[in-house]
Symmetry: C2
Subunit: 159 residues, 2 copies
DNA sequence: ACTTTATTGTTGACAAGTCAACTATTATCC
DNA sequence: GGATAATAGTTGACTTGTCAACAATAAAGT
């Protein structure tokens, strides 16, 4: 027996379709797919690799865990990602004299070349996306994301 | 040989850290983990199941593909999700006379009970999250997400 | 000094998300 | 009415994301 429409007071009056978390879930999936495809065309590297390369390139040189803290990527994922990037000849490591546990990471010549080629492309994509927004939306979305992130607290992301 | 800091004109002046797609990636992950844990406490069902239950409950009864279109969940994922929900006794199907391909879905008594218990909890969570935002942010974030979704185009989500 | 605690990074196991091929049914269009 | 295309839903293979246990080194506390 099918159960009919539920009384109004049960599902209230607010539009359920814009459940915030789900909206973000969907938009995230689309932006991600878009970025990945775009990047594939530009440099042929995976999105996650780019995100890491960006962090290294930005600083010139960093450590594994500095990246982890900065972009909040899962440690395990990051470890495997860097391993692949080293195999691909994009990143090199050299020992940190002061701390035997960590290694300093930097881009190879090849990595740097790709970084330089990709950065402006990715930036113009970003500008395109942001350009679609009004000035107010542009300002609001970043602050709103910050607040939501804080409100969600520290779930996920095993330290 | 480590490669030093790159010249300013290479990485420009805009703060790279708020690369939009990545910000959304992170916020999404946190909101998701938060929602999942919250829901686990309330009803013990997975987030995706809830999202589907919400859609069925909202309409009283729907079809597989109507859900797919409405919430943009992957067909395959949805298929397996519904299968599990039927096994759990939350959803029942009955044949659609008009179209042999599809089946109408509705909540069972048990499903409805959980739906009724969970909805207000999830709504108050949503209100809490939204309550953190200013009026402007609240308005902007939804419209901004819409625009970004459109700008990202129809990548991903195999029809 | 030496035990305890924290940090760094690796690994394995698992869960969730994505894509594409495939069957069965219905709609469309000469 | 019969070929062609579209839609509904299932399934398998694969990718990505997440968590937790672990070894190695460093820092802190007594």
């Amino acid at each position: 027996m099918p159960i009919g429409k539920y009384p109004a007071e049960v599902h209230g009056d607010s539009p359920l379709q814009d459940v915030l978390t789900w909206r973000i879930h969907i938009v995230h999936a689309k932006l991600n797919a878009h970025a990945a495809k775009f990047l594939e065309g530009v440099s042929g590297i995976p999105l996650v690799h780019w995100r890491v390369m960006l962090t290294i390139g930005e600083n010139g040189s960093t450590t594994h865990s500095a990246i982890h803290r900065k972009i909040l990527m899962d440690k395990g994922q990051l470890s495997r990602c860097l391993k692949a990037m080293i195999e691909d000849g994009l990143v090199t490591t050299h020992d940190d004299e002061a701390d035997q546990r960590q290694q300093r990471l930097s881009l190879t010549k090849k990595g740097l070349r790709i970084f330089r080629k990709t950065l402006p492309e990715m930036r113009s994509r970003q500008n395109f996306l942001i350009g679609e927004l009004s000035k107010i939306e542009r300002k609001s979305i970043f602050s709103a994301l910050d607040k939501l992130e804080r409100a969600a607290g520290n779930f996920g992301f095993a330290a």
